[in-house]
Symmetry: D2
Subunit: 420 residues, 4 copies
């Protein structure tokens, strides 16, 4: 057993940390202030990508800190073509600390072209896309010239059971026709968003996990309408945003179906493992940042004659936060290693475990940090309110805690002979 | 021991409930939709009071559902003059269920002229104001023609220890001169806000609880500047809002000092008991509403072949919510009764206990309700995100949990001989 | 709403407290030391009632502190005959603080003839017993000359679902024949135990709540065998104890069936409400004692230069304990009041709520007190280990937490139209 | 990063598991039944080692499953002399899964000569003992022919602050004189116990961490008296037990001081790291066993028409248990790896983190398992009550949670510049 990171992982993580600290952090502080100011005056921070961010992306790319999420096995043509540092794909366990590092910053994942939902969409295209699909969408996504969205959740049904999905994606000759409504389609607000991966019901008579398809729908296709942008606890998450999108008689070529009709669940299964590791590690990064802020604030402000960190149970909460963060991080690294060594089916329970634990740990630590900051912790002067909202949302996005607990329990009990 | 409400409390609570259900709820739904729409498009719901709300206030007042918070002992002139139903002041324990009822609605407290911080400010003027102060500010506040703010928390120090306050309020002949900066001055955004009660340091050499004064500062006094409005986790809480306010060489007559210099802590002690009961009971109302929404949603949506309420531990969480709400409500009612029968000094521990328990219970129940709602629970389509933020803010406002835990412990240990 | 106890409740509670402090406590300390010594040397404290305890019972009875649990409505003949103070039955809400007072002492409930399971059995006989049954068993129980047991839980099935009970109680002419096995039959180890109330299956074809009967079985009836005494986490709870009892072809007259065949569930429903209030209030007394011990120890021992109470989060835990105890107590008092004013069916949810909350609060507070005591808290030198075990056992006895949560949720959801 | 165990660790863990399952488990079940029976009848299971256990020890030794805890670096003479399998010391991370395996059984650690406190004492002698001390005590300990105790905690002071220790160990010529009282001296009840390592105050004027010495005191030395054996929540933990031991004018040669006067804290620091890893991993084994029992029982018993595992939130609790166990295990393995690669001073925080987390996780999982078992979970029919008590005791033994939280916080805050 060896807990040291590989040399490559260590080198890249360090490079990413340095880039965030030196290049991204100052820009982010500035943008956050502008966004906070906009929010106060009732204006949106806007749905454009500021030039300064586009420049950061150029610089990151120039340093090869670009598409680092690109999984091992695809290091050949893509990594070289896009200048990914070291020219080679990383295992999940090697990429994990990089994901953690990017979690300290809201901006970083995008700067490094490693942000959701694009990473997941790129993985889908890498693993399941046809040559034509890859050329048309994967290349510009890796190049960073376009963005994409992922449309799965629906407003009319409990989407925690994905088989509930009602949007239809029916084959009609050499076309697929989509009708229905999605929401929480993340990324659809981005000015560069050009394509959505849409999950729809194709064959209601098939086995429950073979009824749905994933369809690539270009954003301007007639019948696709972004009805509104949703807010998450008051935050619109510009410029990506979460949209409610209606599909009315939308027609795309049958060739836009990924991997063939009825394979949406199979693809989702494979797509979600690495993405959940990324999400979970970013939550760890967020939690570390919150703990850092709590320590700084708690030591520098005094009340009742002491640093507030020394009042009541605050120091115990620091200890609890440290324990929670460290053990959650190790659980995630282990899940990543299981994905690497056994594949997604061997890591089903592990991936669900981290999907539950990571945002709950982050939420707990951020809550403590907010409490230490007093009123400041609630305001946009500190990143804590936004961080809390991000962690809270992850407890629902991509399957609520309860669904994942159900899965972990089912697999545990199966080992004791339970058939479901 | 008798847990039944008095006839008057029951009658007024019922009238308030009916008014909220019949009159306020439809308006509120409509305004929430407009506000959510505004937020999505990046606009503020605005800092004006919609006409429809002013009309609701007129109707509530016409029915005598006005100033019901007005404490017993002041039922004479004021209650009659302002048409308060039944013409008489209510005890804290009688007003408590009315406060709970208003907690179901964000709008209701204002409609009934029972909203913070105006209620607390009116209590200060009732109990400690001079005849002149009452005539100039209490009458129009009770009349509803003006609004007020309360300026205590400061950005530069840990305000959980109120003796940290640094804004100076120095006597200079027959004037008081204020210099310093406050934030989280709630209510200052309201278009009718005309006066602030400002706590400031008058005599640094006095006993630590006799150094500060409360000063009435009209909003247009030269040197008073609202620097910005703060958001609470993305919400501006229009049209009341929370302001950061600077005071630069602000001069007001010495007659504007409430009860005389150095008495701010004494006044605050008396002011806060009833207000904390109101806040806590509104938290109970909010929690009940969240539990109600959770039950409705959980029974009406299905996943994996069952109502989602029947999945996993959801029903247990309903039970836990019911137990938490019921026991918290009883703790608050008991604290109110202690305030009524023994006065604020006899209820110090009890009032701090409810200050801790109520928002934590509300937060827990709302969190569950959000989880049951999935993505919808995070959005502005449901009042849960706003409710959660309200409960979270109360854990910090008016003294964070930790400070109140410290007080409860100190009083408990004093009974075992501890001197602090 | 009025939270003050009635004059009678206050007077009796005070008398009980004084008797415990002055008479019982010194005896108990002495007995605990002997029991601890016996345990250390591998001997049982024994299955006899020490003379000193019998004398305490005599003195309590002489002062009328006897059978105070006797419910209102039965104050006539019984209370007079047995010299119950004031000659009259108490409401549940009036008896509750007395139950709390007795919770400070393991011995007190028995000294006052108010201990489980005898109180519940006496209530059954009072409410449902025939004249003959009352004369034969109720009178000596009230007199204190015999003790009784209650046999419901079975080792072979999940008894949390009482309809699982498999012991048969079949009518055969004018006799009932019992066959089966019970365990956790509390009280069967007592040297004065003379009768068991046994729940058995009489008519498997009836409605699921009309299948079972309660049968009075004298302890010496042929076929009744105490197979062994069970320990609860290492404690045998001498001299009452919990037995595993087999019934083999046990024959008793049909007249021993309480209220007639098939009525066991109906009786249990009525029996359990007050008993659960008693149990819950005793848990509050236990929790208060633990908090008292924690404060005393925490202030008198020092580590790292401070009283250990001032280290880490200890003071916060005192506050949390105070809040938890106070709110749980109020929930219980309210449930008692509901039982008094609306009867058992109106208080179903309330009674289950306190059944869940009270032992959990006690366990949490005792755990804290143990931690403050260090090694001493684990040993028999302090009553904490025994207290913890008592609280832990109550979370299972009489229906585990989970079953009661299910009931509370069912009643809550029924109000939203759920049919189960 | 590589989470797979080394080949040796895997081979030895498997051998240990098999030996426990095949050889120890049947014996243990039998002994537990006898102990439970003894307890019920008020007798102690006794202070002798049953022959059957001595035979198990012989067989374990014959298979080389003996002294496996022996740390790397000492594999030479000792491992060979005592037939330790593979002839070589294991790193902490390699030994950890073996410790987990032994945690499934109360008997196993002793059978493999890997039980506390002897392992810790052997480590002290290995690392700090003189040649003479090793020969006299280490050899027979490794040989298994004698046992030892560790005397640190004192009844009269808060021993969580070890500098509070008051027993004196004063040099007088070529002797050391010990006077004072210890309790929770684990192992002193064992019939083979021959020596105690006693911590005492030697030089009150020295730096607070240089005042105390560790002294080897043969058990029959005049003035050493075992006053009584203590019980832990009703359990005496025979035949090891925990004693209260008085030392009155006890004289031993100065050569019995380990490593020289004043070095007790330095030795303790080095001694405790590996021992805490062992303890923590045994807690994981215990938790796994409890979860295993919960799953088996929960699937095999039915209530309300379903396996009880499918009622309420039980399945969620299985998931939470799995997550808690897995993440705690990884935290421990990582701490072991840090000990191996950086030494005890580099792993201070990590070792305290696992000292807190492991028993709390075990306690939570065992509590759930008890609840699933109903009454059976409280009784001696299942190992759960004993397991719970073991976990509860570990939260206090060797430094209570609160002290370790304080240490973790101190190290965290030091990184932010806090000087304490």
């Amino acid at each position: 057993m060896d807990f040291s990171p590989s040399g490559r992982a260590a080198e890249l993580t360090e490079a990413v940390r340095a880039f965030i600290a030196d290049e991204i952090a100052p820009v982010e502080r500035n943008l956050e202030e502008r966004a906070a100011h906009a929010r106060r005056t009732g204006a949106s921070p806007g749905w454009q990508v500021p030039d300064v961010v586009r420049e950061l992306r150029e610089r990151a790319r120039a340093q090869g800190l670009w598409n680092l999420f690109l999984p091992a096995g695809h290091e050949g043509p893509y990594a070289e073509r896009y200048g990914t540092r070291g020219g080679a794909g990383l295992s999940n366990v090697d990429y994990a600390p990089i994901a953690e590092a990017t979690g300290w910053s809201f901006l970083a994942p995008y700067v490094f072209n490693c942000n959701a939902p694009d990473t997941g969409n790129m993985e889908v295209l890498l693993r399941y896309g046809s040559a034509e699909q890859r050329e048309r969408w994967l290349d510009p996504l890796l190049d960073g010239s376009i963005r994409s969205g992922f449309a799965m959740t629906e407003p009319g049904v409990a989407s925690s059971d994905a088989t509930n999905m009602q949007l239809t994606a029916v084959l009609d000759g050499d076309e697929v026709v989509l009708d229905g409504r999605k929401w929480w389609t993340t990324g659809v607000g981005h000015p560069d968003c050009r394509v959505l991966i849409v999950m729809g019901l194709t064959d209601p008579g098939a086995h429950r996990h073979a009824r749905h398809s994933m369809v690539l729908v270009p954003i301007g296709t007639p019948g696709v309408k972004v009805e509104r942008m949703l807010d998450t606890m008051g935050f619109l998450d510009e410029p990506f945003g979460h949209g409610e999108v209606s599909f009315t008689g939308v027609r795309v070529p049958a060739a836009n179906v990924v991997a063939g009709p009825g394979r949406a669940f199979e693809i989702a299964q494979g797509r979600l493992g690495p993405g959940r590791v990324h999400h979970a590690m970013r939550m760890i990064g967020l939690a570390e940042r919150a703990l850092h802020l709590a320590c700084e604030r708690g030591l520098s402000r005094t009340a009742f004659g002491k640093p507030i960190m020394n009042l009541g149970g605050n120091r115990e909460r620091v200890a609890d936060a440290r324990i929670a963060i460290n053990s959650a991080r190790l659980l995630i690294l282990h899940a990543a290693w299981k994905l690497d060594t056994g594949g997604p089916m061997a890591a089903l329970s592990e991936v669900s475990q981290i999907k539950i634990l990571a945002p709950n740990v982050a939420q707990q630590v951020i809550d403590f940090a907010m409490q230490i900051h007093g009123g400041a912790g609630l305001s946009s002067d500190f990143p804590l309110a936004g961080a809390w909202t991000a962690a809270r949302a992850v407890r629902i996005a991509d399957g609520p805690d309860e669904v994942h607990r159900g899965l972990v329990a089912r697999l545990e009990l199966a080992a004791h002979g339970a058939t479901r």
